[in-house]
Amino acid sequence: MSWFIRKREPKDALTVKKLKIPEGVWVKCEKCREIIYKTELENNMNVCPKCEHHHYLPAAERIQSVVDPGSFVEFDANLTPVDILNFKDSRKYTERLKTSAKKTGLKDAIISGRAYVGGMRTQIAALEFKFMGGSMGSVVGEKIVRSAERAIEEKTPLIIFACSGGARMQEGIISLMQMAKTSAAIAEMSEAGLLFISVLTNPTMGGVTASFAMLGDVIIAERDALIGFAGPRVIEQTIKKKLPEGFQRAEFMREKGMVDIVSHRKDIRPTIIRIVSLLSTP
């Protein structure tokens, strides 16, 4: 036996075991790569406390982050998508729906309902990106239209948080028609003299941007959100050039005159309260 072979296990094996981080207590920031205490991130609306990077926020938490505590009442939760085309790509549409439903606890990519914001009654909806990329099919379209109709009926403002890759390809032409359908509903609200606040969050693309999302009387873009019609990859393939840093980001959209306000996540609620209040008083 050679003299240099270790006779004992390394002493610190036990210490390593002790230091093992319990699952999900710490997370790494997507941007600055700093290790953050998960609770701290959650308490900060999923905004990195070190670099202010805005991480994904689920639709349900999004709604809770703006409404008065306990005031949200969900509507139309029983609307369920239908596989009209019998669509199957690498996976069946029905399977994709099941997976998304399991992941999010939702039937489709949207939560909608009524809530009070700063004591004022509003209709509110948020798209859920984790449900098939927040894509808009029949259910998303219908729930947005019903929210607008409720706004007209109850003479309240409507607030929609967009977060979507665009139209849902698996519903084919019917999903394209949701663009016309939702835009028509916003036009109805406009005719009734009611306020629609559209909040664009990361990402808002394609058929969602090119319909109700860009039709807000006031458009708020969340900081850093990617907002556009064509995706950056498609544009790069078309023009055969790399896009400049920050292209289609919220600040860029503001610079191009496409949005009213670029807002930090924590400022969205007070901003909405101020706008709704200004327009509901003489």
Partner: protein, 319 residues
């Protein structure tokens, strides 16, 4: 340069060429091929019927994009007189990929607007292959509001691969331009008759596609995304284009079954490009019929019906 005919058109075209050859030869005295010609005619027709009865989604897509297919300006020429083209969005540019203007249609003045692809390479480049920038959509809406002001009905013809995905388009608000059209079109107080004459490419087509009647030419297609785009995104495999075209259900028959359009307008056998004058005349009669019907409806009622039409689009369950 693209082939002037498609693969599945080839056998038909070969027979037709044979017929032409025989005809030339027949002009000489003492030679009579009329029996053969008649036989070949029959054969060509049989073949056309068989081929065009069972086109796949992808074959229809190719027909819809056929380089010889009549474009908006061809229909304008064959269906109307006194066309005065009006240009520009009054904000930034001319909007080359969409053309429009007042014209006389069956004795009455109409506003006729459509996407315009190019016939040769220079025109194709100039028209951006029918893929519009925001200016095109804004121009279209400006013209439709002009039609509303003068109480003239609107005819739109859709034929685009889609809204242009370029840097400038994004900077000048492609999304806003399309959204604004969808917002405005729903309550325009004059009749709007929409026809898909070729490629109905997603939001870029829909931006001219909100109206009281929506028709599709028999071999046109209408889709939320191109088969190429769909194959790349969902299959991550560019060879799945044909499968994607089938799965998307984008043919006129599919779209009618899905309840999105009101009517399919027949094309000459073999496609509109085989007889553009006949194709235009069939379309003209269909548009005239719809305009006559719409004229009888009170404008307020007409707008209400249009809203209802789009309100009801969507399939879901509720329990």
């Amino acid at each position: 340069m693209a082939e002037k005919y498609l693969d599945f058109e080839k056998p038909i075209i070969e027979i037709e060429q044979k017929i032409n050859e025989l005809r030339t030869v027949s002009k000489k005295p003492d030679i009579d091929f009329s029996a053969e010609i008649k036989k070949l005619h029959k054969k060509a027709n049989r073949l056309k019927n068989a081929t065009f009865k069972n086109l796949t989604g992808w074959q229809q897509t190719l027909l819809a994009r056929h380089p010889e297919r009549p474009y908006t300006l061809d229909y304008v020429q064959h269906m109307t007189t006194d066309f005065v083209e009006l240009e520009g969005d009054r904000r930034f540019g001319m909007g080359h990929s969409i053309v429009g203007g007042f014209a006389r249609f069956e004795g009455e003045t109409v506003m006729i607007i459509g996407h315009q692809k190019g016939r040769d390479l220079t025109e194709r480049m100039n028209r951006n292959f029918g893929s519009s920038n925001p200016e095109g959509y804004r121009k279209a809406m400006r013209l439709i509001k002009l039609a509303e002001k003068f109480n003239k009905p609107v005819i739109t013809l859709l034929d685009t691969p889609g809204a242009y995905p370029g840097m400038g388009a994004e900077e000048r608000g492609q999304s806003e331009a399309i959204a604004a059209n969808l917002f405005d079109l729903i309550s325009v107080k004059v009749p709007i008759v929409v026809t898909l004459i070729g490629e109905g490419g997603s939001g870029g087509a829909l931006a001219l596609g909100v109206g009281d009647r929506i028709m599709m030419l028999e071999y046109s297609v209408y889709s939320v995304i191109s088969p190429e785009g769909c194959a790349a995104i969902l299959w991550d495999d560019c060879t799945m284009i044909e499968k994607a075209a089938e799965t998307l259900r984008l043919t006129s028959k599919d779209i009618l079954e899905l309840g999105v359009i009101d009517e399919i307008v027949k094309e000459p056998i073999g496609g509109a490009h085989r007889d553009p004058v006949l194709a235009a005349s069939i379309l003209r009669r269909a548009i005239r019929r719809h305009l006559n019907e719409l004229r009888k409806i009170d404008p307020k009622e007409m707008v209400a019906q249009r809203k209802k039409k789009f309100r009801n689009m969507g399939v879901f369950e509720e329990y």
